[in-house]
C-alpha cells in the first residue's frame, strides 16, 4: 500500500492524545486511592487540553485524506457495518470528553456524584475520566479495526494490529505525560516514566511479534487464482494502460526492498529502543523526556509508514507490468 501522510499523522497523533489522557486519568485514579499525591486541577486540566491538541491535530490531518471533506459528516452514518464510520463517531466523542475533563478540572466543577461505602468520594471528574477511558480504548479499537478487518491484507488481518495500536499509542502518551509532568509536577514524572517504560517494552514485544508473523506469511492469492489459469509460469505483459492508473498509484509504496529493510531497524530504534534508553537514564530532566517523546512520536510515524508499505494488496497481482 502507499502510505498516506494524512493517515500516518492521524493515527500517531490521536494515539499520543489518547495515551496522554489515559496517563492523566491513571494518575488521578491512583491518587483517588491515595497511592499518589493528588495533583492540582490545573495539572489534569491543562494536560487534558494538551491531549486535545494532539486529537485536533490528528483530526485536521485526516481531512486531507478525503477527496470531498465537505461531505465528511455523512461518514458517521454506516456505524452498523463500517469500522471507519465507528471511528468517525468515536473520535469526536472522545474529543468532547477530553474537553469536558479539562473543563471539569479547570473550572473546578467537581460536584460529588456518589460516595462509595468505603468513604471514597466519586466526583464528576472521575465519572468523566472513566467514560473517557472507555472511549479512548473504543477509539483505539475502531482505528485499528479499520485495518485489521480487511481480510485480504493479511499483514493487517490479525489481533496484533489492535494490540499494537493500543500499546504504541499508550507508550507515546505516557512518555508525553512524563515530559508534561517534568515541566508541571516534577515529582510525578517518575510515575509516568515508569509506566512509559513498561508500555514501550510491551509495544516493542507486540511489534516484533507482528514483524515475525508478517515475515512468515505466504500470499493466499496468486496470479493463478487471480486470472484462473492453472499454469506455474504466468507473466504479465500489459496491464491495460501505459501511464499507470489509480491502481498503480494507491497500492504500491514505490520504494525499493532495500529501503524497506532499512526502515525496519530505523523505527525499532526511534520508537522503542532510544526512548527506552532515555527514559531509563532520566526520569526528571524535562529536556531528555521531551527529546524521548519527540523521538518516539517520529519513530511511530516511521513505524506507521512501514505498516502501510508492508501490506501487499492482492490487486497488485494485476498490476505487475506496464507495457
Amino acid at each position: 500500500m502507499k502510505p498516506a501522510f494524512s493517515v500516518i499523522f492521524l493515527t500517531t497523533l490521536i494515539g499520543a492524545g489518547q495515551g496522554l489522557f489515559l496517563a492523566l486519568f491513571t494518575h488521578q485514579s491512583y491518587s483517588l486511592f491515595g497511592l499518589l499525591p493528588m495533583q492540582s486541577d490545573a495539572f489534569y486540566g491543562y494536560g487534558s487540553v494538551l491531549a486535545l491538541m494532539f486529537l485536533i491535530g490528528g483530526l485536521i490531518s485526516s481531512v486531507f485524506h478525503l477527496g470531498r471533506p465537505e461531505r465528511a459528516w455523512r461518514s458517521a452514518t454506516q456505524w452498523r457495518t463500517s469500522w471507519l464510520s465507528r471511528e468517525v463517531i468515536a473520535l469526536p466523542a472522545f474529543m468532547g470528553i477530553t474537553l469536558l475533563y479539562a473543563v471539569v478540572h479547570l473550572a473546578g466543577m467537581r460536584p460529588e456524584v456518589i460516595t462509595l461505602p468505603s468513604g471514597l468520594v466519586i466526583d464528576l471528574s472521575v465519572v468523566v475520566g472513566t467514560v473517557g477511558t472507555l472511549l479512548a480504548f473504543t477509539l483505539f479499537v475502531c482505528t485499528a479495526m479499520i485495518y485489521a478487518c480487511l481480510r485480504f491484507l493479511r499483514e493487517w488481518h490479525s489481533p496484533l494490529t489492535v494490540i499494537n495500536y493500543i500499546l504504541m499509542g499508550g507508550a507515546s502518551g505516557f512518555t508525553l505525560a512524563a515530559f508534561y509532568a517534568a515541566l508541571s509536577a516534577p515529582t510525578e514524572a517518575r510515575f509516568f516514566g515508569g509506566w512509559a517504560i513498561i508500555i514501550t517494552v510491551l509495544a516493542l514485544a507486540g511489534r516484533i511479534a507482528s514483524l515475525v508473523r508478517n515475515a512468515r506469511l505466504r500470499p493466499t492469492s496468486t496470479l493463478q487464482t487471480a486470472i484462473g489459469v492453472k499454469h506455474p509460469y504466468i507473466t504479465q505483459r500489459t496491464q491495460g494502460s501505459m501511464g499507470g492508473s489509480f491502481n498503480t498509484r494507491e497500492f504500491f509504496h514505490g520504494k525499493t526492498d532495500a529501503f524497506l529493510k532499512q526502515i525496519k531497524p530505523t523505527f525499532l530504534f526511534l520508537a522503542f529502543l532510544l526512548p527506552l534508553a532515555l527514559l531509563s537514564v532520566s526520569q526528571s530532566s524535562a529536556g531528555l523526556l521531551g527529546f524521548a517523546f519527540v523521538l518516539q512520536l517520529s519513530g511511530l510515524m516511521v513505524e506507521r509508514w512501514f505498516f502501510f508499505a508492508q501490506a501487499n494488496h492482492p490487486q497488485n497481482l494485476y498490476y505487475q507490468t506496464i507495457g
Binding site: L66, S75, L153, T235, R237, G243
Partner: protein
Amino acid sequence: MTQLALVIDLNVCVGCHACVTSCKEWNTSGSAGPLCDENPYGADPTGTFFNRVQTFEIGHFPNSETLHFPKSCLHCEDPPCVPVCPTGASYKRKEDGIVLVDYDKCIGCKYCTWACPYGAREFDEKAKVMKKCTLCVDRIYDMSLAEIDRKPSCVKACPTSARLFGDIHDPESVVSKAIREDGGYALMPEWGTHPSNHYLPRRKTHLKIHKDELERADNPLKVEGHLPKPGKDESSMDDVSAW
C-alpha cells in the same frame, strides 16, 4: 432474485480493447459526468476507466500462450467493498445485484478500494469520488433504446462476442448456460466474495482422426475392376479410382 453479470469468454477475446474504449465513451458521456483523463496526449497519460484489458503470457516461449484478460468490477454477491463504506455511498442493488457508488454521497476516502481484492474501483482525480463499473445501469433499462441495445456498452462493442450479459440466477439464461456448460469460473475464489462475473477458460478443439479414416474403406459402387488402381502414395478421387 436477479443478479446481472457478465461472462467473459477468454477463448474468444482477442485483446482489441474495443470494450475499453466503448465503456469509456459511454460512461464519460453520461449524466454522471466525465471520467477524468490527465495528460491524455502527454508523456504520462492516465485516467479513470471502468474496464481494462490486460495481457498475460502463459508458459515459456516457444511453448507459450497469450491470454487477453478483460477486468472490470465483478459485482460480487458478497461485495467486501460495500460494508466498509462509511457513508453508504457504495451499495448493492437488491433488484438486480449491481454494485454502485452514489457519486453525490462519496467522500473519496478510498477505503472501499482497500477492501476490494480485484482492484476494480478507480478514484476519479478530478471529481474526487470513487468510480466503478455500473454494468451500464443507465443503458440496460433505457426503454427509448431498442431491446437489442439494452446491454452494457462493452458487450455491444465486442467484435468477437466474447462478452455475454444476463442474469446468473436464472438457470436458463445465456450466461448461466455458459457458466454451467463451458466451465465458467470466478476470480480469487479463496476470499469468498462470490463474484457474479465469470470467465470461460481457454479451450482447445482437437480433431481426432483414426488411421483407417485416412484410407477409403468402403466402395459403394463395387466398380474397382473397371477403375484405375493408382499406388497408395498417389492421389486418388472418390468413385474414380479403385481405392
